[in-house]
């Protein structure tokens, strides 16, 4: 089975608004893929459907052959756009919480990353800055040995130096059979680590190519192409 995620004619409407409009795509294993689009293009809606947090209005989606549900939660490690963690918890509490939830969670990996980013396990979330909270969440998500990582805006609030470390972490932690889907606006920083990009515009896929194809065909970076395609 070469595709980790397949979706056919996937549609999601909110009243009259088409958030996702007839999306058909296969996402292979072993790739790092950028899900790129301006605000309100459907990125988060797509990721939420992948996680079973929203149900499709039409079409089909399978992950590892299963519809989103209990089975796929074992395969998917999800970083949501908003935090869902309890503010009063310490980082060490969160780690044991995740350990209880997920069989594939590696405590060693989590502590190692915390250490490298200079975050104390004794700190409570409540006392942390926005960027540090984001780092903690990403550490929790990347410490799982999942088959599909769905990261919704993972580096938005993080400073450039930590951003580099986080990208390195993503590169070093993912195994060759796992796929990472990253939704983001910050393209220039992550372009180098991507295999492919998907451009979403008003709920439709308007481009699905490898980074080097884009560079070869357009003589410009994905970041410049994005700015051109989505010029306001």
């Amino acid at each position: 089975m070469s595709n980790i995620l397949e979706c056919r004619n996937l549609t999601k409407t909110f009243g009259a608004l088409k958030a996702l409009d007839n999306i058909t795509i296969d996402i292979p294993r072993g790739k790092i893929i950028g899900l790129l689009g301006p605000n309100a293009s459907g990125k988060t809606t797509f990721l939420k459907i992948c996680n079973g947090l929203l149900t499709p209005s039409g079409g089909e989606i399978t992950i590892g052959g299963f519809k989103p549900g209990i089975e796929t939660k074992k395969l998917v490690s999800y970083l949501p756009e908003k935090t869902y963690l309890n503010n009063w918890m310490k980082v060490s509490d969160l780690i044991s919480f995740f350990r209880d939830f997920y069989d594939d969670f590696s405590i060693d990996k989590a502590y190692d990353m915390l250490n490298k980013l200079g975050i104390s396990p004794k700190d409570r979330l409540k006392t942390m800055s926005k960027g540090t909270k984001e780092k903690v969440q990403l550490i929790l998500v990347m410490s799982r040995e999942a088959q599909l990582y769905l990261l919704d805006e993972p580096i938005g609030g993080v400073d450039p130096a930590s951003r580099d470390y986080i990208l390195d972490t993503i590169l070093s932690n993912y195994n060759e059979n796992a796929t990472i889907l990253i939704s983001t606006h910050i393209i220039s920083d992550i372009e180098k680590i991507l295999d492919e990009v998907i451009f979403l515009k008003q709920g439709k896929i308007i481009l699905n190519k490898t980074v080097d194809e884009i560079r070869e065909e357009n003589q410009k970076s994905v970041d410049s192409l994005f700015r051109e395609v989505f010029r306001c």
Binding site: L167, L171, K192, I193, R215, Q219
Partner: protein, 118 residues
Amino acid sequence: MPWEVNPDRPIYLQLAEQLELKICSGVYPLGSRLPSVRDLAQEASVNPNTMQRALAKLEEDGLVYTNRTNGKFVTENKDIIQKVKGKIAQEQVKNFLKKMDELGFAHKEILAIISEIL
């Protein structure tokens, strides 16, 4: 030599060129074993598949070969390396001449400047 990726060209080509340079300048000596694709990718902060593609290009050019169980090695053939060096030198000189052209120097004047510096 730190890795550098410019925005306007395919990444794998740029990586291949920089690997060539590292081999020609002896950072990776003749016949030596290259770091793993994964390590190289991490060093350059790029996608491992992209690094793999760059190495595949060098393999096509005969600069690198794969030993099935042991990883990738730099060729032991000095001629190939000499040839690649020659190619890089030509490119560098052409770039230089193009810039001098844009500045409006004739080839004679350029030669005069060069011999003055040498």
